[in-house]
């Protein structure tokens, strides 16, 4: 029987919701929550313990959290670590990935393919899942199959065949057509408006723009991914996977009034933000600094979206659209608030 440990966040471990997001690493006996479903799917592998940690705690104390979790892991004498599934939750996915990547034993995790955690998983296997918990029943058996393969030391085939996300290793294979024929196809596609490539240099990087010479002469715009909207969310910005962004006039007042603005971001506890919306989009401070002359001026509109589970292609498009408006409006600097 292979001994395994399961990692879950505070919510799936049954410790609470967002209010428990600061829970430090803790150990629970045997499989818990979805771990029970996972255990039922596993053959020849036993989940002897569950490690849990609050998503916020991990994000804000990553080194300490990892150190503690690895200690707890070692104490179990496990041969396999399974983390998640984290679905589309960025903080949870990131924690799963970092733990799986640093664990000294075989590890695999599971999350949606666009979860930012995917890039942090190192050599650990990542099983792709649906974007939310509705995909749990589908994810668990697939995680179990891969866990069994890893535990057995079986050499894995192609990611598509085995059900894990490509990790970035390049392997040769014979294509159906020669490179010359593929080049002609690729070029004709490009000329017709669809650019594809067989190999990329790595992450798309944008170099930092030149600094603003003097903000006291510049117009600054406020943009937020924290889903800050007028109270009541009149235009119904979704709390997750927002299909767009919204622009609102920036109030003339000295700050964002509680009760007039709220956050509709579905990925964190918005209580504190709603008590004082300036905590998410710091208009009060910005207005003060504008009055004092530190900032030349604040753009008269603010932009908002919820950076929660937004697919990369969509958020790229939103950014380009917002950027175009800002550029046309002569905005020279942007303060972007996230979570």
């Amino acid at each position: 029987m292979v001994r395994a440990v399961h990692y879950l966040n505070q919510f799936f471990a049954g410790l609470g919701g967002e209010e428990a997001a600061e829970t430090p690493p803790t150990r629970l006996e045997g499989p818990v929550g979805p771990g029970r479903g996972l255990a039922a799917e596993l053959e020849g592998i036993e989940i002897t313990a569950t490690l849990a940690c609050g998503d916020d705690y991990f994000a804000e104390h990553e080194e300490a959290a990892l150190a503690r979790l690895l200690d707890l892991l070692q104490a179990e004498g496990a041969e396999l670590l399974v983390c998640g599934p984290a679905f589309g939750s960025g903080r949870y996915g990131y924690a799963c990935a970092r733990l799986a990547a640093t664990a000294p034993i075989a590890a695999l995790t599971a999350m949606h393919e666009e979860n930012p955690g995917v890039g942090a998983a190192g050599a650990a296997l990542v099983v792709p899942t649906a974007v939310n918990v509705a995909g749990m029943r589908d994810a668990l058996p697939r995680m179990a199959r891969l866990a069994e393969a890893v535990a057995a030391g079986r050499e894995l085939g192609h990611p598509e065949d085995e059900g894990y996300l490509p990790r970035g290793f390049r392997r040769n294979r014979h294509a159906e057509e020669t490179g010359a024929e593929r080049a002609v196809d690729l070029l004709l596609s490009k000329l017709a408006g669809e650019t594809r490539t067989e190999v990329a240099a790595g992450f798309d990087r944008v170099p930092p723009p030149e600094p603003v010479p003097d903000l006291s002469e510049a117009v600054l715009a406020l943009v937020t991914e924290a889903g800050c909207v007028p109270q009541g969310n009149p235009d119904r910005l979704p709390t997750i996977r927002a299909p767009g962004w919204l622009r609102y006039p920036l109030p003339d007042e000295a700050g964002l009034e509680s009760g007039r603005y709220e956050s509709v971001h579905g990925g964190f506890d918005v209580t504190l933000a709603n008590e004082d919306p300036n905590r998410l989009m710091p208009l009060d401070v910005a207005r003060t600094l504008e009055r004092e002359g530190r900032i030349g001026g604040i753009h008269d509109a603010f932009y908002t979206t919820t950076g929660n589970g937004t697919p990369v292609a969509a958020s790229t498009r939103f950014g380009q659209e917002i950027a175009a408006e800002l550029r046309d409006a002569g905005v020279q600097a942007v303060l972007l608030s996230g979570t």
Binding site: P208, P211, L280, D284, L289
Partner: protein, 73 residues
């Protein structure tokens, strides 16, 4: 990732977030670490002002790609 696209248009952008590691991975260049996910600019106005001033300073500074500054120097 909004920050990268706005930067691609040439507008210096500073991103205040409590998750700077992810922000670096996705390619934001000017990043200021905020204290918590639920309140990345802090709870009180004084802390908020410190963080915003740090962010403004970063907008006026040359940086290497994906640079993270702490709120309090």
């Amino acid at each position: 990732m909004l920050a990268k696209e706005i930067e691609r248009a040439g507008i210096p952008t500073v991103f205040v977030t409590s998750l700077p590691t992810i922000a670096r991975m996705i390619g934001a260049n000017r990043i200021v670490r905020g204290p918590a996910i639920t309140h990345p600019f802090g709870l009180e106005a004084a802390e908020r002002r410190r963080i915003v001033e740090r962010a403004l300073e970063m907008l006026e500074t040359h940086v290497e790609p994906t640079t993270v500054w702490e709120a309090a120097p």
